[in-house]
Symmetry: C2
Subunit: 254 residues, 2 copies
């Protein structure tokens, strides 16, 4: 069945959605059937594939709170082998509604179970918080994909993130592990970037991908055209880096 | 009494903490007595002033949930006229605990009331979400200071932010208004930056500050030294921009 990866970091703006969208597109590009689940009410991963974040008759909110089969809300994209469960504005209400729901942390895991054999990878984009939506992703996932921006503030949140992972592993998902850490917005000209990479490599001993995702204007422009980087600027440094990351991810799974 | 400004944007990584820290430092630099309240459990605004985010005997969590006077937990900084209510790791639990507390949205407003006459400005740094900590800031504030990164994804969340503002204004704080919008990480070399600035100026008609905060390496390095930009690189473009912003803020208040 599929490898389920949660793209998580409560620090904001570190490249979670950018990584979820472009990694999914690149996995599709090497014929891995990939499902991207957008669990962030902001819906950036949804619009990153050109899909509308507006209202839908049924959406992931309904699947989480009233057990509508997830299969009914999967949508195709322009990229072969890549499918999306879009976020909608109703999702913003899910965090509060889940607080009092039965088995509130396992909702996503339960609705994902029937789909796992249909895909090679299931990638879950998370909001910048450690609330119940992110906890659902951590409970449903086999592994964590942690994007870390090459900036100082990005280092400060790591200990807290790992505390949450340990709590989820102890109470909800014993198999949860750090699948990999990806350094984003790397700027080879600055000392800060290099220092952060070194510190993260020490902290996550052996889990950090070799691929460093560079900061490029094309990567920040692509979402305004609703396209992953492989469609917007296929021969640029951004597409090259995410293709390299996809290859590393596949190697780690095999 | 003080002007209470909440630095809010649920989009992650747009420069909320960087703006809260450096604006507070620059307001102190022009003799405005300024209190910075760090309401983000990540504690970036706290460490941005070189203060430790660790455990304290009493902290803002205790003030919000058990009415310890806020005055007891105000700490000084190296910058004259600038004081901080630091975040601590206990704050992460406040969001869930507040859900069932009495008058949960007004907690910050109530504990701020005795302090308002002691300061010219009170600046509240918020987490990247629209949960109960941010709602508390919106209820306690006179005005919103909205940092917007000059990137496409930053535009997508604005409608949702303004929905929340309207809800808070209708049910909790009728006086709440958008005090100002500040464009951050502006890169004059890219078309995207200029397009975003134009769109935001249209959307927020007249509220956007003239000052554009440029993306500079020094601004991203300063927090690793626990210093605001006015101490770390006082003659650089980052300090110049935040001093210009502080002047615009003061002019808008008078
Ligand atoms: N490698 C890159 N080069 C240039 N810009 C990038 C890169 N990665 C991400 N960005 C831009 O930086 C901003 C933050 O990235 P993104 O939205 O993916 O982060 P996020 O962690 O998902 O944010 P949030 O915490 O709000 O969910 C976006 O405007 C995005 O377009
Ligand atoms: N003008 C700037 N130039 C360069 N780097 C900047 C600038 N403003 C902020 N940064 C850096 O960008 C990153 C995001 O900024 P910051 O942490 O202030 O955003 P935030 O909105 O507070 O994030 P969060 O949503 O996680 O609270 C940080 O690493 C910060 O150092
Ligand atoms: Mg995101
Ligand atoms: Mg912040």
């Amino acid at each position: 069945g599929a490898r389920v990866l949660a793209v998580v970091n409560q620090k904001g703006g570190v490249g979670k959605s950018t990584t979820a969208v472009n990694l999914a597109a690149c996995l599709g590009g090497i014929d891995r059937r990939t499902l991207l689940i957008d669990l962030d009410p902001q819906g950036n991963a949804t619009s990153g594939f050109g899909l509308n974040v507006g209202q839908r008759k049924t959406c992931v909110y309904d699947a989480l709170l009233s057990d509508i089969p997830l299969n009914q809300i999967v949508e195709g994209t322009d990229i072969e082998h890549v499918f999306v469960v879009p976020a909608t504005i109703q999702l913003a209400g899910a965090e509060i509604e889940l607080v009092s729901a039965l088995s509130r942390e396992n909702r996503l895991k339960n609705i994902l179970a029937p789909l796992v054999s249909d895909y090679d990878f299931i990638i879950i984009d998370c909001p910048p918080s450690l609330g119940l939506l992110t906890i659902n992703a951590l409970t449903a996932a086999d592994g964590l994909l942690i994007p870390i921006q090459c900036e100082y503030y990005a280092l400060e949140g790591l200990a807290k993130l790992m505390d949450s992972v340990r709590l989820v592993r102890a109470h909800l998902n014993p198999a949860l592990e750090v699948f990999g850490v990806v350094m984003t917005m790397y700027d080879s000209r600055t000392r800060l970037s290099q220092q952060v990479v070194e510190e993260v490599r020490d902290y996550f001993d052996g889990k950090v991908f070799e691929t460093l995702i560079p900061r490029t204007v094309r990567l920040s422009e692509a979402p305004s055209f609703g396209q992953p980087i492989t469609a917007y600027d296929p021969s640029g440094k951004g597409a090259e880096a995410y293709r390299s990351l996809a290859n590393e991810v596949v190697l780690r799974v095999d």
